[in-house]
Symmetry: C2
Subunit: 161 residues, 2 copies
Amino acid sequence: MIKPVAPDSEFTIRELAQEFDVTPRTLRFYEQKGMITPTRRGAARIYSAADRARIELILRGKRVGFALDEIKEILDLEAIDRGGRERLEPAIERFTARIIVLEQQREDVERAIAELQAGLAWMRERLEDRTPSDDVRRRARAFEALAQARLDPWSGAPSTG
Amino acid sequence: MIKPVAPDSEFTIRELAQEFDVTPRTLRFYEQKGMITPTRRGAARIYSAADRARIELILRGKRVGFALDEIKEILDLEAIDRGGRERLEPAIERFTARIIVLEQQREDVERAIAELQAGLAWMRERLEDRTPSDDVRRRARAFEALAQARLDPWSGAPSTG
DNA sequence: TCACACACTTACGCGAACGTCAACGTCAAA
DNA sequence: TTTGACGTTGACGTTCGCGTAAGTGTGTGA
C-alpha cells in the first residue's frame, strides 16, 4: 500500500522515483508523453500530491497491461469530459470495452495462479523423491497434457505417416 | 471460452491462428523460440491438441504479463522436473515469487475495474448534461484528484512561489 | 574555490514481440 | 497448364518503454 500524503506536499524526482521503485528517467519519460506535468523550480521538477497520484495510477495501469497511451487517455478524462458529446461517446465505448478485457483478465490471473500452484505442488512432491500423488496429478492435469506435447514425438509412436 | 477438442485432433497453422486470433507468423515465432514443436507433413506444420493446449497457455500467460521466456520456463516444467534438486529448488522459488506478483495483480485489476467504472459513471452523467451527482463524485474521487493535477497550474493559485 | 551530488536536455541504443516483404514450393480446381 | 490459395524460410523493419551516455548547469559543504 502506498502511504497517503498531505495535499500540499511537494516531492523531488528522486523521492518519487525511490518511492515507486522506478528511475528518474522513467518519470521524465512520462512527462515527455504528457502524462504528468510537474511544476518547475528553476529547471528542477517539483511534483505535487496530485502528480504523485497520477504516477500511482500510471504504474497500476501498467501492471494490469495498459499501454502508456491508453493510460494517458484515462488520465485525460478531464479533457474528454470538456470535449462534449462527440468525444464523450466513443470514450465511453472504449472504457466499456476495457472493462470487459479487464474482467477477462481477472479470470486469466486466477487461472494462472491456479496453474502455477499446481506446478508448485508437483515440483514439491518431486523434491521429496516421490512420484506425484494422484491428488496432485489431478490438479496438475494441465501440466501433464503439456508435458505430453513434448514427449510424444520422442517416446511416442515410431511411425505415424 | 475455448472449445475443448478430441485428443487426436489435428490443426493447420491457419486454423489455430484464426481460433486464437493471432497471425501464423506469431505461431512460427513461438516455435522458433522452442515453445511449441508441431510435427510436419512435408514442410507444413501440423498441430496436435497438445500443441493447441500449449498455445492456449502461452496466450493466457501473455495476457497476465508473463514474458515469453518465462512462459517457456513454465512450459518446460517437465525438463525442470527431470533436472533434479538443483533445478527444482530455484524454479520453486521463481514460481512462488510469480504467484505473489499475480496476487498483487489481481488486486490491481479489481481496482482498475472500479476506477474505470467510476470514470464511466462520471462520463454518463455528463452525457445527460448535468454535473455529476454527489454519489458519482464520491466514487470518482480518484478522477477528481487527477483532474486537479491538470487544472491546478491553470486555474489555481496565481502565485505559489 | 573546489569538489561533489544531483539535476537538466539531447540523442542514440536496445530487447521484446512480432509485422512485412521477398522469393519460393505445393496442391487442387478450372 | 495455369491460376490462386495456402504454405514455407530468411531477413529486415517497427513500436514500445525505457536505458545509457554525453555534455551542461545549479546548489551546498569543506
